[in-house]
């Protein structure tokens, strides 16, 4: 084989391998599913498991939130789909929401999930067209989760018990 061919092949392979190493250090995938999902999403070939997503949606609408999150996590194994991450965050919100107080632990997990959804969405804008939801954008959901985690004067208002879950 000609030397220039060997050098060209070596250069291309080295750059690709180096980029892979750099990508692993930057994105910190923790499972092989995340590695393969991340790589396939780079070339636009990543897709969620539709059956698992539909299961998750059914559980979500039946207010079975831990089951819904498990199904959504199964649908988006690599955590690369903004819409699925939005539903996971919404499930944390609805489960953590309380008439008298909100569950901070669940809200924090919801905030992490919605931040991931925003990071994955093109230009950070994510709108989910679902009539079952009262908040359709990730920004609204994020703000609501943050409000739940912040202690304000309005938290001590007795009329707070009349508010509705979104």
């Amino acid at each position: 084989m000609r030397e220039s061919v060997v050098r060209s092949v070596g250069l291309t392979a080295s750059l690709a391998y180096g980029a892979l190493v750099l990508w692993l250090y930057v994105t910190q995938p923790q499972t092989m599913a995340q590695v393969s999902g991340g790589l396939t999403s780079i070339i636009g070939a990543y897709s969620v498991d539709q059956q698992a997503f539909d299961d998750g949606l059914r559980f979500f609408r039946a207010d079975k939130f831990p089951e819904a999150r498990a199904a959504f996590a199964r649908a988006d194994r690599a955590g690369r789909d903004a819409r699925t991450q939005f539903y996971i965050a919404y499930a944390f919100y609805r489960e953590g929401w309380g008439r008298t107080y909100d569950d901070d632990v669940l809200f924090k997990q919801g905030l992490t999930a919605v931040d991931l959804a925003i990071a994955l969405a093109p230009n950070g804008r994510l709108v989910v067209d679902d009539p079952d939801l009262q908040m359709h954008s990730a920004d609204e959901l994020r703000a609501e989760l943050q409000r739940g985690l912040t202690i304000e004067l309005s938290d001590f208002n007795p009329l707070r018990v009349l508010r509705k879950r979104k």
């Binding site: 220039s4 060997v6 050098r7 070596g10 392979a13 080295s14 180096g18 190493v21 995938p29 499972t31």
Partner: protein
């Protein structure tokens, strides 16, 4: 040096070391980038390799070489620095007194090697000893002391902690970590041995002394 070694073998070896050096096996895989001090150590190591003749940078990058060859050479140099930093980061304990002492140990050994200017073979042997010592210290001695069981280890750790200004106990590591470190060090040393060395010039074969015939 053949084009295949420079363009394929060396980058593959050194980038693999870069990848494995920061890999922390466990329930959740983590890739740790090297701290700044390890980049300093790696730069010292690069200088030692050049000074000993184990690496001739002119054979990797030079104005007389084609652009493609220089690009291959640049990748080898960058990967060499990154791999060295990751090896040092991997062999340095994570916290406490061992972190301090092993960092000083590596620094002093490298400066000493740099000043002593050993030849290529001696430098490679010295590197094997430095990395071997680091490997044994972190993955055999300290890992043994950090095992949750073992009364002797607990007493030793408690005595040492009380007598010094820092703790020697480290977080327990999965068994795979030591094997992975061994493989990484072996790959790095193989890569260092394959680097283009300074060519010996002007040495004529010495004629053998012949005994007069009786």
């Amino acid at each position: 040096m053949t084009a295949a070694r420079e363009a394929i073998v060396l980058p593959f070896l050194l980038l693999t070391v870069t990848l494995l050096g920061g890999l922390q096996p466990g329930a959740r895989i983590v890739f740790l980038p090297p701290p700044l001090f390890c980049l300093v150590l790696s730069s010292l190591l690069l200088a030692a390799l050049v000074r000993s003749g184990a690496l001739d940078p002119v054979r990797l990058m030079h104005g007389s070489r084609p652009v493609l060859a220089n690009a291959n050479g640049a990748i080898v140099l960058v990967a060499l620095v990154a791999a060295g930093a990751q090896v040092f980061a991997m062999l340095t304990p994570a916290s406490g007194l061992p972190l301090f002492f092993v960092s000083v140990f590596f620094f002093v050994l490298l400066v000493n090697t740099l000043v002593a200017s050993p030849d290529r073979v001696r430098l490679l042997r010295s590197l094997a000893v430095i990395f071997g010592a680091g490997l044994i210290l972190k993955f055999v001695v300290l890992a043994g002391l950090s095992q949750p069981a073992g009364r002797t280890a607990r007493v030793l750790v408690a005595l040492f902690d009380a007598a010094t200004f820092g703790s020697i106990a480290q977080d327990p590591q999965p068994a795979a970590a030591g094997y992975l470190a061994f493989l990484t060090v072996a790959l790095y040393l193989a890569g260092a041995a394959l680097l283009p060395a300074v060519r010996a010039v002007g040495l004529e074969p010495v004629p053998r002394m012949q005994l007069p015939e009786a």
